[in-house]
Symmetry: C2
Subunit: 752 residues, 2 copies
C-alpha cells in the first residue's frame, strides 16, 4: 500500500489548489475536439457509419414510443428494472446523436427524460425489493443506481452547453447531487469498499463531478469517504468483506488494489469485463478533463494493460475463461469490450491486431476512439489477433500468485491454470485448478456459476444457493481435493489470507509450454505442486497435456482428482460397475451435488478413458496405484429447483495415502463428423505412462506411445533456478539437465 502514498499525496495537493475553470463541452468521453473530427469524417468510414445508423435507428424508435420513467418496482428481468436500464442507454446515445448530427430533438429528449427523473427522485423511497446489502431507489441495488449515473453523467455532458443555466442548476441540485450523495454518503458499505461495486459508485460520483465541475465530489470519487463509520469485518450478502483493517477507498484505491501490474483483475475476467467499463470511462474522462492527473498512465498504464490481459483470457471465439463466478458465453462481443477495445486502440498505441477484434465486434463507439478504430479498419490496417501463452500475476504488487494460459498452435489447445488469490467475494475454492479448450470448445470445463443472470424466474436473476454449495466448492473444479473437504475448509476469511506460489513458467520453447505452481495453505500440512506441460513432439500424433502433481504430506489422507470432461464416454481400459439407483457421492463440500454413476478399479497401473467431444476425440491416461478407484459421477444431486447442468466427471480417488504423485496425460486426437460419418484416429496414442523416479527433489515420468516410442519428463520439484544443474539415475542410467525441468524427446524404453 505504501507505494501509492506519493502519487496520492501529489493528487491531494493538486486537488487542493486546483480550481476548475469552465471549459468546453462535451468534455467527458466525447470531446468538443472529437466532435469536430467526427463531423469531418463521418459518411466515409463504414464501420462508424454503420454504428451511427444502428444507434440512430434504436433511438428514433424509442423516441417515437415516448419516454417512460416508471415507479421502481421490479428485480432484474422485470419491467421497471429493464426500462430504467434502457433509459440511461437511450439518453447517452441520444446525446451522442445530438453532438454528431446537431439535431436539437435529441437534446430535447435527453432533457425531458432527465427532468422526469428529477421530478420523481427526491420523493422516492428505497426500492421495495429488500435483497441487497445496499438497496437503491431506481433499482433494487446501489450498483445499478451507479451505472445509471455513469451513463446519465455522459448524457448530461452532451447537452450541458445547450441547457439554460437554470435547468442545469435544477438538475444538478435536485437530481445529480442527490443520487451522488445517496450512493456514497448514504451507502458507505457500498461506496467505500475495494470491490467492483465501489468502482461503479466511485466512477459515477466522479463522472458527474467532472460534468458539474464539483471538486468536493471529485475528491470523494478519487479517495472515497473520509469517515465511513463502518465496522471492520462486516460482510455483504455474497459473503464478501466490506471493510478490513487498513483499507483505502475511492477510485484510485480500487484501481490500485484489484489489478495486478500485469492488468489481471483479481475477481477474474467475467467481472473484469463488467468492472472495466467504469475504470475506462472515468479514466478517459479524467484524461480529458484533468490531464494533469495522468489517469491512464497510473500504475504503469495498468488500465490499458488490463484490456490486453482481458483479451488474452478468451478462447478462440472470444469467450472469457470462466474463472470464479462467471457466466459462460460472455465474450469480447459485449458492449463493455467494444468500449475497452476502442479505448485501448485509440489511447494505447494503435495496435493493429485490436482492429481485427473490433471487426469481429462489428461496431464502434460514437466518439473519437470509435472513429479512430473505424478509420484504421477502413485504411486496411487490421491484422489478425494472435494469442500466445501468457502468465498474469495476481495481487496489487503481482505477488499473490496468478493465472497462466498455455496455448499450442492457433489456440488448437489452450490450458488455463489458476494459482491466484481468493478473488474477493466472487472467488472459488479452486487452487491449482485448470480447464482446457480445443479452439472455442471446452474439453475439460470449469463449471462456471450457478446463476441465470437477469432471468427473473430463477431467483430474480441473482446468485442461486447452489452457487455457494456447488460452484464455489473445490470438487466442482479440476483440482485435487483432500478428505472430501474444500480448500481452506471452504472458509472465505481463511482463503482470503492466502494465495498459491508460482514455481516457474516457461513459454520460451515452442514445443513445451509449461507452468508449475504450489499450494501449501489450502490443506495445512499438505504441499501440492502442480505442473502442466503442453508438449508438442513430432513423434507423437498431436500435442498433448501432461498434468503432474507432487504432493507432500505427513498423514494418510484421501485424494480426489476430478476431470470434468465434456462429451460422451467412448471407452475405458478398466472394468466398472453401475449402481442400480443413483445416490449422492457425499454429504457436503459440493459432494452432495454429485451422483455416483459408476465405480471401477484399474489393474494395469494406467487408467485410460476416452470420450467424444465437440471437435473430435479425447483421451485421458492416468497413472494409478493398487487401491485407487475410478469414480464416474454427474452433477445434479440435491438440486430441487433444477439449477444445475447434468455434466459428467471422472474422479481418480486415492485412499489413505500420505505423500504421492499423480501423472495424467490428456490428449486430443482425430476427428469425427456426423455429416461425413468419418471417424479418424479415434483411439489414444499413449501406450503407457509411468512414474519412473520420485524423491524429495525430483519426479520423472516416462511416456510411451503405441509405436513403442518413449520420452522422459523430469521435474525439479524444489528448485526453480534456471541455472542449477540436476541429475537423476533411473534404472542405472544418468539423466542430467539444467533448470527446473527437462523433456527428453528420446527417453529410451524406460518402463516401471
Amino acid at each position: 500500500m505504501l507505494k501509492i502514498a506519493l502519487p496520492a499525496l501529489i493528487l491531494l495537493l493538486l486537488a487542493v489548489f486546483f480550481r476548475p475553470t469552465p471549459g468546453e463541452y462535451p468534455r467527458l468521453i466525447l470531446t468538443a475536439e472529437g466532435v469536430g473530427e467526427i463531423r469531418n469524417e463521418f459518411g466515409s468510414v463504414p464501420l462508424f457509419d454503420a454504428s451511427l445508423a444502428k444507434v440512430k435507428e434504436d433511438v428514433d424508435a424509442e423516441m417515437a414510443v415516448g419516454i417512460d420513467v416508471p415507479v421502481p418496482k421490479d428485480f432484474s428481468g422485470g419491467y421497471t428494472h429493464e426500462r430504467h436500464k434502457r433509459n440511461y442507454l437511450m439518453a447517452l446515445q441520444a446525446g451522442q446523436l445530438y453532438q454528431i448530427l446537431g439535431e436539437e430533438r435529441y437534446a430535447q429528449y435527453v432533457r425531458d427524460m432527465l427532468f422526469e427523473y428529477e421530478a420523481m427522485y427526491s420523493g422516492l423511497p428505497l426500492h421495495p425489493m429488500e435483497r441487497s446489502y445496499a438497496r437503491g431507489k431506481l433499482f433494487w441495488q446501489c450498483l445499478n443506481e451507479s451505472v445509471w449515473l455513469v451513463y446519465m453523467a455522459q448524457a448530461y455532458d452532451t447537452i450541458y452547453t445547450w441547457l439554460p443555466a437554470a435547468d442545469r442548476e435544477r438538475l444538478e441540485n435536485n437530481l445529480f447531487r442527490v443520487v451522488a450523495d445517496f450512493i456514497s454518503v448514504e451507502n458507505p458499505q457500498f461506496y467505500n469498499r475495494i470491490h467492483n461495486h465501489s468502482t461503479w459508485g466511485n466512477a459515477a460520483v466522479g463522472m458527474i463531478a467532472l460534468a458539474m465541475d464539483d471538486d468536493e465530489l471529485l475528491q470523494r470519487a478519487l479517495y472515497g469517504l473520509t469517515d465511513d463509520g463502518l465496522e471492520l469485518g462486516v460482510k455483504d450478502d455474497d459473503g464478501g468483506f466490506i471493510k478490513v483493517a487498513g483499507q483505502k477507498a475511492g477510485f484510485l484505491a480500487n484501481l490500485e488494489d484489484p489489478f495486478s501490474p500485469d492488468g489481471y483483475y483479481t475477481e477474474g475476467p467475467y467481472y473484469q469485463r463488467y468492472a472495466m467499463y467504469p475504470f475506462l470511462v472515468f479514466g478517459i474522462a479524467l484524461h480529458n478533463v484533468k490531464p494533469e492527473l495522468k489517469a491512464l498512465q497510473y500504475k504503469e498504464n495498468v488500465l490499458l494493460k488490463a484490456v490486453d490481459a482481458l483479451l488474452s483470457l478468451t478462447d478462440s471465439d472470444g469467450e472469457f475463461f470462466p474463472l470464479n463466478d462467471a457466466q459462460k458465453g460472455m465474450s469480447y462481443h459485449s458492449a463493455e469490450l467494444v468500449t475497452a477495445v476502442n479505448i485501448a486502440y485509440h489511447y494505447g498505441g494503435q495496435n493493429p491486431q485490436l482492429l481485427s477484434v473490433a471487426e469481429a465486434q462489428g461496431q464502434v463507439l460514437l466518439d473519437q476512439a470509435g472513429l479512430s478504430v473505424a478509420m484504421g479498419i477502413a485504411a486496411g490496417k487490421a491484422e489478425p489477433f494472435i494469442k500466445t501463452s501468457v502468465n498474469l500475476s495476481d495481487g496489487p504488487q503481482g505477488q499473490k500468485g496468478g493465472v497462466a494460459v498455455l496455448r499450442a498452435g492457433r489456440e488448437d489447445l489452450t490450458v488455463v491454470f489458476k494459482y491466484a488469490a481468493q478473488g474477493l467475494s466472487h472467488g472459488h475454492y479452486d487452487k491449482l485448478s485448470f480447464s482446457m479448450f480445443d479452439k472455442g470448445e471446452e474439453v475439460l470445463q470449469d463449471y462456471g456459476l450457478v446463476r441465470f443472470v437477469n432471468i427473473g424466474q430463477k431467483g430474480g436473476g441473482n446468485y442461486l444457493p447452489e452457487n455457494a454449495s456447488w460452484a464455489k466448492q473445490s470438487i466442482a473444479h479440476n483440482t485435487l481435493v483432500v478428505n472430501e473437504t474444500s480448500h481452506f475448509g471452504g472458509d472465505y476469511e481463511t482463503g482470503s489470507q492466502h494465495h498459491s506460489e508460482l514455481h516457474f513458467f516457461d513459454a520460451g520453447n515452442e514445443n513445451i509450454q509449461i507452468v508449475s505452481a504450489s499450494e501449501s495453505n489450502a490443506y495445512p500440512g499438505t504441499r501440492k505442486l502442480r505442473t502442466l506441460a503442453l508438449i508438442k513432439n513430432e513423434k507423437f500424433r498431436e500435442p498433448f497435456l501432461l498434468d503432474l502433481w507432487k504432493v507432500d504430506a505427513d498423514v494418510e489422507q484421501q485424494y480426489d482428482l476430478p476431470y470434468y470432461y465434456l462429451g460422451q464416454l467412448l471407452e475405458t481400459n478398466f472394468a466398472y460397475s453401475n449402481p442400480r439407483v443413483l445416490e449422492p457421492l457425499g454429504e457436503s463440500s459440493g459432494y452432495q451435488h454429485l451422483y455416483l454413476e459408476a465405480q471401477g478399479e484399474s489393474e494395469t497401473g494406467n487408467a485410460k478413458f476416452s470420450w467424444l467431444g465437440p471437435n473430435g476425440f479425447y483421451s485421458l491416461t492416468a497413472t494409478t496405484e493398487a487401491d485407487d478407484q475410478l469414480l464416474m459421477a454427474r452433477v445434479g444431486a440435491n438440486d430441487p429447483d433444477f439449477n444445475l447442468r447434468r455434466d459428467p466427471v471422472l474422479i481418480l480417488r486415492r485412499p489413505a495415502t500420505a505423500g504421492t504423485v499423480f501423472a495424467t496425460i490428456i490428449e486430443p486426437h482425430g476427428s469425427y463428423s456426423p455429416v461425413s460419418e468419418l471417424a479418424l484416429e479415434s483411439r489414444t496414442a499413449v501406450e503407457q505412462l509411468a512414474i519412473v523416479y520420485d524423491d524429495d527433489n525430483y519426479t520423472a515420468i516416462s511416456i510411451a506411445d503405441i509405436n513403442g516410442y518413449s520420452s522422459l519428463f523430469v521435474l525439479a520439484t524444489q528448485s526453480s533456478s534456471e541455472d542449477e544443474q540436476h541429475s537423476v539415475v533411473i534404472d542405472g542410467k544418468t539423466w542430467s539437465w539444467q533448470g527446473p525441468y527437462r523433456y527428453f524427446e528420446q527417453g529410451g524404453s524406460i518402463q516401471k
Copy 2:
C-alpha cells in the same frame, strides 16, 4: 403391387429384345458428351473449378503415398475398412480427373488399384468379423461390398476405352463378375429384399452391368434373382424381414416399394439420404445408357420428387429430422446430397432454389450435372431455398399414413409429425409422435438412434443394445403411451401390418398450419386422434403450437404423454418433490432407461412449465385433471456403457381413465443472450387453457392470454369433410363453422 405390372412387363419385353451395342465411354454418369462440355467450360466456373482443385489435391496426395489394398480385417472405424472405402472414392475421382484433365497417370492409378483387387479377390475368404447376416469379403458386410462396386464400376467406366481389351477381360472375369455374383447369387438374403441394402446391391450389379454391357447382370439388377431359395418370414440381424409373401425384388421393385408417390422414403430421411445415392446414380446411368427405359420418369418422376421430399425434411441449417433410426447432425451437406441436388437441378427442371443449397454445400460433382449447377451459380441464378409446410404420404401408393411438416415464418417454428407406416427394420414405435424446431435448434426432440456410426470403440460403430431397448420404444418419443407399453407391444411384425390415418392436413391458411391423424391399432381398443396446429394470432405475442389429443377407449388405463424439451428448466406453476435417490421409472418398454427426478401435481387445471433453450424461452401449458401427475425424468438409467445422452423429459401421467382429452400449448417466447445478458419476454403469455367442450364428435379448447384476450379452437373429431357444416353450444352460445376445424380468433371470455 398391381400398378407396377404393366411397366414391368414392358421393361421385361424391352430387355428380352434388347442387345446392347458398344457405345462411347465414359457412359454411366460422366458421359463422353459431358466431358467435352466440361473441357470447354472449366477454368471459368468458380464452384466447379474449386471442386476440381480440391479433388485433384486429395487424389494427388493419395497417389504420392501409393496404393494400399490391405487384407480385410477390421470393422468400420478400423484401418482396413476405412482404407478400402477411401480406395473406391480415390479410384472414382482419379477416373474423373483422367477424363477432365486427360493426364494418363490418373488412368494408370485406377488400373493399378483395380489389378491389386483383382489379384486378391478370388482368394478371399469371408470377412473375419461375423456380425452381419450377409458378410462381405473386403468388408464385414455385403452392404459395403456393394458400395465398393457402385464406385468401382464408375471408375472402370472412365478408363474403359484406355484399357487394352485383355486388361478389361481380366478385370471383368476375375473381379467384377465375381463381386457381382458374390453380393447377389451368393447372398440372396441380402440381394433380394425390399430394403436399402438390396438397393445398393442391385445398383452395384446394375452399374457394372452397364459398364460391361452385360445384359444378364442388368436383368438381375432390375428384377432381382428369379429363384432366391429364401424362406418366408426370415429376419435379418436388425429384426427386419428378409422375405414376405408376394415380395418382388430388384432395383425397380425397390424403387416402387419404399418410395411414396410424394417421394417420401419409408425408412425416413436419414436412410433416404443414404439410399438415394444408388437410386440416383443407377437411375442416371440407366438414363444415359438405356434412355428407352425412362428410369428418371419412373412412377411419375419419383426419383426427382424424392430429392425435393428429402430437402423438405431438414431444419433451417439443413439437418435431417431424425425420424426412425437416424444420426443427428447428418445434413444436406453430406456427399450424397451434393449428388442429389446436382442431379435434381440438372435433370429435374433447373429449379433456381436448388442453387442456393448447392452454394451452401460449397462443392459440386465433377460431371455434367455439377458443371450445370456451378454455371447456374456463376450466372447469378441462385434463389433462396424456401421451405414451406408439406404433407408427404407414406407407402407405395401413398396410402400408409405419412409425415407432415408445419412451418411458421422462415422456419422460426417447425413441427414434424409422424403418422406413417412402421418404416421397415429401422422404424420406431412412434405413432403420432412429433418434434419441434426453432430455426435449426431442437425445442422438443426425437431422441434419434443409439449408435456412434463408424466409431469402433462403441460396439464396432454399429447399433447398440439401447437402440432397441430405448430409442425405438414409444416412451422415447413425444407421443402417448398407454399402460407403460410400447405401440403394438413393441412387436415388429404387428407394427408392420399397420399405419396411422390422416384425418386432415391444411396449410392453406397462413395463420393456421394444421394436421390431424388418428391411430387405432397401436393399442387395440383405443383410438387416438392427435391434432397439431401452429397458430399465428396477432393478439398473441408469438406463434404457438396447440397439441390436442382426443382418445376413445372403453377400459380404464394409464396414459403417459412425454415432452422431451431441451434446455434448462426455469419455472413450474406446480409443486413437486424430489427423491433422495434416483431410480428407474419402470422395468421395460424403455421405462427402465429413465430416472425419475421429480414428481408433482397440478392443482389449477393447468400445468405450466418453462425452460431456457438455445434460442430463447419456451413454455408449455397443459390441461390437467385431478389425479394427473407431472413426472420429471431423465434418460440414462440401466446404461452400463454410457451409450445414452442424459436428456430430460416432462411426462404428463393420467392414471385409470378411459376416453380422455389432452390439450397442450407449446410456446416459444422472448430471447436471451449471455453476451448482452438481456432477458426479453421470459414468461409465458398463456393465462389459461381449457377444454370447454367435448363429445363424440367435437372437442373445443379455449385459450386465454395474460392480457385477458381469449380465442377458441374447435375440432370435428370424426368428420374431415371440407364442406360439412358443424355447430356446438358452449355455455349457451352457439359456434358454427364449416369443415373439420375452426379457430375463432375472438373466442370470448370462455373459461371452464
